[in-house]
């Protein structure tokens, strides 16, 4: 019975309960921390730096690999272009979603300033959902390439024997 029990998922579930409880008991503190993060003037520069470093590490890890990769950009233009295109795509997605999130969060959740004058409530909340998904997905993809690069660096090459 315990062999099939997913301990990692259970731990994450527990973490999310703790996070929700922490949010409910310290709402103003959490909102203020999120606002400080979003209005930080160096946020975009830091995101670009993190994304470029991550994809450069990824490129170095696959540069000499003879493995078969999938993907249109890789097949047409090679590994460097594939990594560069991914870095630009995720960098733009992260910085744009962070900027829109700043406006939506300060307007709808904190309620201090109006960023989107002529938008209906439904449009603003749709933007919040879409930008959160984009931000989360891009963060996951960027982190994933770093973890893959670390994994590849600790793996071994197999040499053919005749």
């Amino acid at each position: 019975m315990f062999d099939k029990f997913d301990w990692k998922l259970a731990l994450v579930f527990l973490l999310l309960i703790v996070l929700s409880a922490g949010y409910m008991t310290n709402q103003e503190l959490v909102k203020s921390a999120i606002k400080s993060f979003l209005i930080w003037p160096h946020l975009s520069k830091c995101i670009w730096l993190a994304v470029l470093v991550s994809f450069f590490i990824h490129y170095l890890s696959i540069k000499n690999s003879s493995s078969i990769y999938e993907g249109l950009i890789y097949k047409a233009f090679g590994k460097f272009s594939d990594s560069a295109f991914a870095a630009i795509t995720y960098g733009l997605a992260l910085t744009t979603s962070a900027s829109i999130l700043k406006g939506v969060y300060i307007q709808q959740i904190v309620g201090e300033e109006v960023y989107f004058n002529k938008f209906d409530e439904i449009d603003i909340y749709s933007m919040l959902v879409v930008c959160l998904f984009l931000f989360g997905y891009s963060t996951y993809a960027t982190g994933h390439v770093v973890i893959s690069a670390i994994f590849i660096s600790t793996s071994k090459y197999a040499k053919p024997v005749e």
């Binding site: 994450v12 949010y23 040499k159």
Partner: protein, 106 residues
């Protein structure tokens, strides 16, 4: 999906940098049916695949990013993350089964 061989001396997993969909594709990639990993020589048929685990990390990230939307955001973000991670894991398991079922004629 990650490829590995079991070390002949102590049985530990030695992970490989290369990836392929089947053992036949891997043999074509190497241009040989036998490969040297460290000091030992293995048949391509000795190489196995294992799946990576994405669901927990995706669920955690979804929940943390969801904090922007308060407690409902944490719940919905966690659920979406878990579903996407599970879907990736299932695809990966299918690839692992395909690789492990394949073989190269010796």
């Amino acid at each position: 999906m990650r490829l590995y061989v079991l070390d002949k001396s102590d049985g530990t997993k030695v992970r490989l940098k290369e990836t392929a969909n089947t053992r036949g594709e891997l043999a074509r990639l190497y241009g040989a049916r036998r490969v040297q990993v460290g000091d030992s020589v293995y048949e391509v048929n000795d190489i196995s695949a294992e799946s990576s685990d994405n669901a927990a990390a995706a669920m955690a990230l979804g929940g943390v990013v969801g904090i922007y939307g308060g407690v409902p955001g944490v719940i919905i973000g966690g659920l979406i993350g878990a579903l996407l991670g599970k879907s990736t894991d299932d695809e990966d398991k299918t690839k692992v089964e395909l690789f492990n079922r394949s073989s190269v004629d010796v």
